[in-house]
Amino acid sequence: MVVTILVAGIATGAIYAMIGLSYNMMYSTSKVVSFTPGQLGMIGAVFGAWFIGVLGFPLWLGFLGAMGVAVVYGFFTELVAVRPVLKSIEQHLYVLTTLAAALMVQQVVAIWWGTDPRPFPILFGLGAGLSSEKYWLPVVACFLAFIGLELFYRKTLWGAAFIAVAEDAEAARALGIPDARIRVVSYCLAAFIGALAGFWGGQLLLAFFAIGATLTFYGFVPIAMGGLGSNRGALIGGFFLGILQQVANYFVGGVFVGVVTFVVFITLLLLVPGGLFGSAVARRV
């Protein structure tokens, strides 16, 4: 039983962690907490199922297609819901605009795809029972995304530019770094990572328009636990949340999963207000 709980918890946690990475990626360059990462997960699952399961595309093409749709959505999110309100960021208008962008895509998908969940295709047919691919594919995707991001930040010029914009956009602009372009790219990359969660976790999530809201909600908890902006925090927070939910469901029942999750979450934030891996930003004076 312990193994069952752990396997399901780790797989679900990997999905939450990828959504958390998507939140971080958007936040790092815009300082906006966007409400769209969960919908990106939904797009990955629904369009993956449509391209591969309905249209019969091969896996690689279906994957690229689903990621492409998500990237386009990420691009328009930055263009329509984020850029216009950045000048008055202290008014937090992005809460409304990104929420509107999230709700719109959810409604459009519900009308087009239908409101019943549909199956996500079996991608490789590997494993059975607890070793089924549906459990380990999201975990592999999550670690690859995390490692890829670390390499991107540490080894590439674009990554260095990302870090510069994340730390101080004005200073980066003064140094000639195109911060607006970096922000657009970060939203596209965040969309890619968010859609990875839905695509590789699709066999667990199902292709269902309503999973976006759930992922938006539970995907935010890991970054708040781990510290907003910290990818390592999102990773550990995601796995912690996934396992916590399964344990709470087993021992106290599904009705109390949300209660247990938020009691732990609030307690943690009271003890460590900046999150487990959050750090105070030093500012030059």
Binding site: G201, L204, T214, N249, V255, V257
Partner: protein
């Protein structure tokens, strides 16, 4: 001079009086020539996540109204369906109810088409004393004191519970029972009600009771726990096709052949594509209705078959909906017609008096619908039965084994 003024005034009054009389006379002559229609407010979710039943019921409502109007209407009055799409939203349903009652002056309302909306609209409709026929299973929707003009044609939740528990205990002979539902208000309420009824009944033990979030990605641990409790039957209360299919898939992965008995959505078409294998649908029984079920020879009751033939030939689609939804729509309109004709009036108190008189209405879905002054639930409990979840065809299911002929 004074005399002339009085004469002129009298003449003017006569002229005004004649004009007014002429206007009212003409109006009166017009209304007797073409009787006003019986307006029925139809509050239905035709779009949105909860719209599937409403679409089926809408076909029945419109078919029945058309048929009645073609044959002269109700005492010379046509039936006019004034429909509003509530989208499954209680707020929109309340606004729609107020609109059709106040603006369209409907004399009856049917719907809304799910319990959540009905809970919101019932007190509003009751305030206007409009005879109403809500379509929802929550027991409290029908209350002869709070909502004296409301009557239910469909079943209530207790009848579903009785059918499910009776099947589990008396037909499947289970002594150890597991109960699982989702964490919505409906799911938890149904799980608790099953537990209470089973405890009151005695003779069985509840070995597992659990509630799972409808979107929970994996239910293997829950099913494993239920299995290790020794449950011989699992009672399932969720209207989520995703959760139902996950439960069935997990059961199959554990090679656990315990029967699932419960909510109608266990047999919904949306479940089928979500199953890892078609055989995962075996030994699953969803609640249904005897008049709308195929017998062991694959035949519908004679009256239901005639109904299917008639509505199909009239162009009503049945293959993508439930037969009982269409039947419920037809029966409700027919019940209104019969009641108005018996009362020779469509006034609320006359309608209520006739319905409460105890005369049985024989419909196609509600084959013996009877009301009284203390009971406004008309559906006969003995007609609520279990179906085989994997047997859906042409809008109906096969009856579950154990009911005999």
């Amino acid at each position: 001079m004074m005399m002339m003024r009085r004469t002129a005034l009298a003449a003017a009054l006569v002229a005004v009086g004649l004009s007014v009389g002429l206007v009212f006379g003409l109006a009166g002559a017009q209304s007797s020539a073409g009787a006003p229609p019986i307006k029925i407010g139809w509050l239905v979710a035709l779009t949105g996540p909860n719209s599937t039943p409403g679409i089926g019921q809408d076909r029945g409502i419109r078919y029945a109204a058309d048929q009645i109007n073609k044959t002269g209407g109700v005492m010379g009055r046509k039936i006019e369906i004034v429909s509003r799409d509530t989208q499954g939203d209680p707020t929109k349903a309340v606004n729609a109810a107020l609109e059709v009652i106040n603006n369209d002056k409907v004399e009856f309302t049917i719907g809304p088409t799910n319990s959540g909306e009905c809970l919101a609209t019932q007190p509003v409709i009751a305030r206007y004393k409009v005879p109403s026929f809500p379509i929802g299973v929550v027991d409290s929707l029908i209350d002869t004191v709070k909502f004296p003009y409301s009557f239910r044609v469909s079943n209530n939740n207790t009848q579903w519970q009785e059918a499910v528990l009776t099947y589990a205990v008396k037909v499947l002979k289970a002594k150890k029972i597991g109960i699982i539902g989702d964490t919505t208000g409906y799911g938890t309420m149904s799980v608790n009600l099953s537990e209470q009824l089973l405890k009151a009944q005695g003779g069985v033990s509840i070995t597992y009771k659990g509630e799972v979030e409808a979107n929970q990605t994996d239910v293997m641990a829950d099913i494993r726990k239920a299995q290790s409790s020794g449950a011989e039957v699992m009672i399932v209360w969720t209207d989520s096709a995703g959760l139902n299919s996950r439960l069935m898939n997990a059961r199959a992965e554990l090679n656990w052949n315990v029967p699932f008995v419960g909510h109608p959505v266990l047999g919904a078409g949306a479940v089928k594509p979500l199953l890892a294998k078609p055989e995962n649908w075996k030994s699953v029984y969803n609640v249904g209705y005897r008049p709308m079920s195929f017998d062991e020879n694959g035949k519908l009751p004679e009256k239901s078959q005639r109904f299917v033939d008639t509505v199909s030939s009239a162009g009503v689609k049945l293959d993508d909906t439930m037969l009982w939804w269409v039947g419920l729509g037809v029966d409700t309109i027919q019940l209104i017609k019969d009641t108005v004709e018996a009362a020779k009036s469509s006034k609320p108190d006359d309608v209520k008096r006739v319905l409460e008189a105890g005369k049985t209405f024989h419909g196609v879905y509600c084959t013996s619908c009877t009301y009284s002054s203390t009971n406004h639930n008309g559906y006969p409990t003995e007609d609520v039965v279990m179906n085989r979840a994997d047997s859906f065809r042409a809008g109906a299911y096969g009856i579950a084994p154990g009911y005999g002929k």
